[in-house]
């Protein structure tokens, strides 16, 4: 028996994927299934749909969800506005660009909690009142690298000969940018938007810290549910979150089809 097993066991390429598959199963699939199961269970572990009812009939839950979506959209827009020019000029410049990219990524190596606490301290020292403005600032500050990085990869991946060709055909800077670079970097924009929008609607610590808990977002609400032992409702909310993730990545992928220019992070 043992012999036949060892005989069957061959060191093929596939064997090397087993640890990854196991990891994915344990830490991605199982938790998702657990969330799905918990969403349909009450505190006595009986099947129920009341968690959905609790969530969809509560004013504050929907209110908080809406609020998070607004914050997410605005953060993403600001990130795109700041990030696109930054990425564009970074990929244009030669050596100094690399240093600048490093400078943009550098804060990412510091834990985001520490960064956010430090931001809070700075606002305190400047006597800035904590509120929506500071929360948006914190969000943009935290997620800007996620916008710049994919854009930078895509834009610097565009073959120089395209712009040269455009020049040869008589296009000025403005036209070159709008007719060549921008269309070719759409995939970067889309992946940047996904990378920023999805985490922003689910963040909890940033809003809590930078508004002293006065701005209450979807992530905060989920956290409260789990900490108060309301696993069912918390799971339903996580599912709602998941739906948003799936919907937005679906939309992004749809528009991203046939546009395999350059490399993207997604």
């Amino acid at each position: 028996m043992a012999k036949s097993l060892t005989k069957k066991f061959k060191m093929t390429k596939r064997v090397f994927s087993y640890p990854y598959i196991l990891f994915m199963l344990l830490f991605v699939v199982v938790p998702l299934v657990m969330i799905l199961v918990y969403a349909f269970l009450d505190n006595e572990h009986q099947f129920t749909l009341s968690n959905f009812q609790t969530f969809f009939t509560s004013r504050s839950s929907l209110y908080v969800l809406g609020n998070s979506l607004f914050v997410g959209v605005i953060t993403t827009a600001i990130c795109l506005l700041i990030g696109y020019p930054a990425a564009y000029f970074l990929s244009k410049s030669k050596n100094s660009g690399k240093v600048m990219v490093l400078l943009f990524i550098l804060p990412m190596w510091v834990n985001f909690l520490i960064r956010t606490l430090a931001t809070k301290e700075i606002f305190m020292a400047m006597h800035v009142e904590l509120g929506m403005g500071t929360v948006l600032f914190g969000m943009v500050y935290n997620y800007l690298p996620f916008m710049i990085l994919p854009l930078h990869t895509v834009i610097s991946g565009i073959d120089k000969s395209y712009t040269e060709a455009a020049r040869d055909l008589g296009a000025d800077d403005f036209t070159t940018f709008f007719k060549v670079i921008l269309p070719m970097s759409v995939s970067g924009i889309l992946s940047g938007i996904t990378m920023v929008f999805i985490p922003t609607i689910s963040t909890f610590a940033i809003s809590q810290l930078l508004s002293n808990g006065k701005i209450f977002l979807f992530g905060d609400s989920i956290e409260l549910k789990f900490s108060q032992d309301m696993y069912g409702v918390g799971s339903v909310m996580s599912l709602v979150m998941l739906v948003f993730v799936l919907v937005s990545s679906f939309i992004m992928n749809r528009y991203n089809k046939n546009k395999n220019v350059g490399r993207t992070l997604w």
Partner: protein, 515 residues
């Protein structure tokens, strides 16, 4: 190659097993057994460092009494909810001793997770120890033997009949109180006057006095129980209680979770948002000390700690103060909370757990702990003042240097008390000790009437509704129009771009007409 790999694995597994066996070997070098005790306590909730460490002292005491060494596995939790989730899901089977708060104890009792300490005391007190000695739990003939009597009454007033299934049980048999205190207002003396506190009471948290200094400089606890209590007290003081509830006592009110009450509380808590800086979990004390905010809803233990830290050398005074609002008869009102030792049903070292509780209930150790963490010990202060000869005598004979036949322990207590600025205020020499430390009303609330200063029950199956109320209050009612318009503008802009692009593509794909 494959074979050598197998050998390596085999060797590794053997090594692992060996270490496990070594770890299981429960005797020390001299052949005495090593006992274990698993303690699950709040963070920073015991004197556990330096020379005065009570954990080390207990180890010595245990060795002295039983002859066995003891290995204490000390783990901590940060909220009752974390602890409850663990214990209720049976993830804490190996724990011998937990220190939950009032309502968490009730929840554990209802879920039949706790051992009856009274019967454990009866079982183990007077039993024979491994070294042949008789175990004497000096401080633990009953669970409340050592507890401040007023305070014990307050617990019994609310928790003497807890329904567990069809039976009722009294919490008295399941808990030995460890620390206790009140909920009140921590304030900055420079901006909030005592007159203001006396006049507006709980209304200070709503800035009822329209004090421009504290507007938006108020923090409240980010916890439904504490804010609900404050809201109820505020409604009571300002005549905002719903009809039919006006004549209820404070204890009945803070334990009432009827829908009308919750709705009314939601209303006042929503209104409070306009006046406060925010909700805090753990940074309130620091923000008070750094004078970022001037008023904070705080537990007495945290408040006392912060006050002690707020000593200003130039002014020779503390700039923070703590106030528990009073009712019309000048009695402190609100919530009386406590944390206490409980032994889980599944505990496997019950005797050691009992000995640990007994040790921590000793007046000297109680003083060490309460000075170290700054909270009020639940141990009867009369015992701490008089029976505890070390602390008491040292306090009385100011300047005592530990040479007059006292043991070293006295000197340590003395130093601890001197370092703590409350100490050494011996006012009258009528033979009675008079200690500022024990007479601070912030530290030791005067419990004249347990209906005015009551303990708070677990919300039970009403907790989901209460949390919903709390979420509504935290979300607020004001619609963020700026956000909405910005979002609409952004989405509109994006849509327009997409439409233009689509039209352009369509136009481009049309075959050109050839003339």
């Amino acid at each position: 190659m494959r074979k050598s790999f197998k050998y390596i694995v085999l060797v590794l597994v053997l090594c692992l097993l060996l270490t496990v066996f070594v770890a299981c070997n429960k005797t020390d070098k001299k052949g005495n057994a090593i006992d274990t005790l698993v303690v699950y306590n709040w963070e920073d909730y015991i004197d556990d460092s330096g020379e005065t460490s009570r954990i080390d002292a207990f180890k010595e005491y245990y060795k002295e009494v039983t002859g066995n060494s003891i290995n204490i596995i000390y783990t901590t939790f940060d909220t009752n909810e974390t602890m409850l989730a663990k214990v209720l899901n049976n993830d804490a089977q190996s724990v011998d001793l937990i220190c939950p708060s009032d309502y968490a104890v009730q929840k554990l009792m209802v879920n039949r997770k706790l051992a009856n300490i009274t019967s454990l005391i009866n079982e183990y007190n007077g039993s024979t120890l491994p070294n042949g000695e008789i175990l004497n739990l000096h401080n633990l003939n009953t669970t409340f033997q050592n507890t401040d009597p007023d305070f014990a009454d307050a617990i019994n007033a609310e928790f003497s009949t807890i329904k567990i299934g069809n039976e009722t049980a009294s919490m008295e048999n399941y808990i030995v109180p460890y620390m206790m205190g009140t909920l009140g207002i921590l304030y900055n003396k420079k901006y909030v006057s005592e007159e203001e506190l006396e006049e507006y009471g709980w209304g200070v948290l709503w800035n009822e006095g329209n004090n421009p200094d504290i507007e938006n400089k108020i923090l409240v606890k980010d916890s439904v129980r504490d804010t609900y209590c404050a809201a109820v007290m505020y409604m009571r003081d300002y005549g905002l209680l719903p009809e039919g509830y006006e004549n209820m006592s404070v204890r009945e009110l803070i334990n009432c979770t009827d829908q009308v009450m919750l709705d009314a509380a939601e209303e006042v808590l929503t209104n409070q948002r306009a006046h406060i800086s925010g909700y805090e979990v753990d940074f309130g004390k620091d923000d008070m000390l750094n004078e970022i905010v001037y008023v904070d809803l705080a537990w007495s233990g945290d408040a006392l700690w912060a006050i002690e830290e707020s000593y200003d050398e130039d002014e020779d005074d503390y700039y923070l103060g703590y106030y528990v609002p009073r009712d019309e008869l000048d009695r402190q009102t609100g919530n009386l909370w406590f944390d206490g030792w409980v032994i889980p049903e599944t505990a496997s070292h019950k005797r050691a757990a009992l000995m640990f509780i007994d040790f921590m209930n000793d007046p000297d150790n109680a003083i060490y702990n309460s000075i170290y963490i700054g909270y009020t010990s639940a141990v009867d202060r009369n015992r701490m003042m008089y029976e505890c000869n070390e602390a008491g005598d040292i306090l009385y004979e100011e300047g005592h240097d530990g040479e007059d036949g006292y043991e070293i322990i006295n000197e340590e207590v003395y130093e601890a008390l001197v370092d703590n600025e409350y100490a050494l205020d011996v006012e009258d020499n009528d033979g009675e000790y008079d200690f500022e430390y024990f007479e601070d009303e912030g530290r030791y609330p005067t419990i004249l009437d347990t209906t005015q200063l009551g303990v708070m029950r677990d919300f039970g199956d009403r907790s989901e509704v209460a949390i919903k109320m709390w979420e509504n209050a935290k979300t607020g009612k004001d619609v963020p129009w700026v956000l909405i318009w910005c979002t609409i503008a952004i989405i509109g802009f994006a849509l327009i771009l997409v439409i233009i692009w689509v039209i352009k593509e369509k136009v481009r794909l049309k075959p050109r007409k050839l003339n």
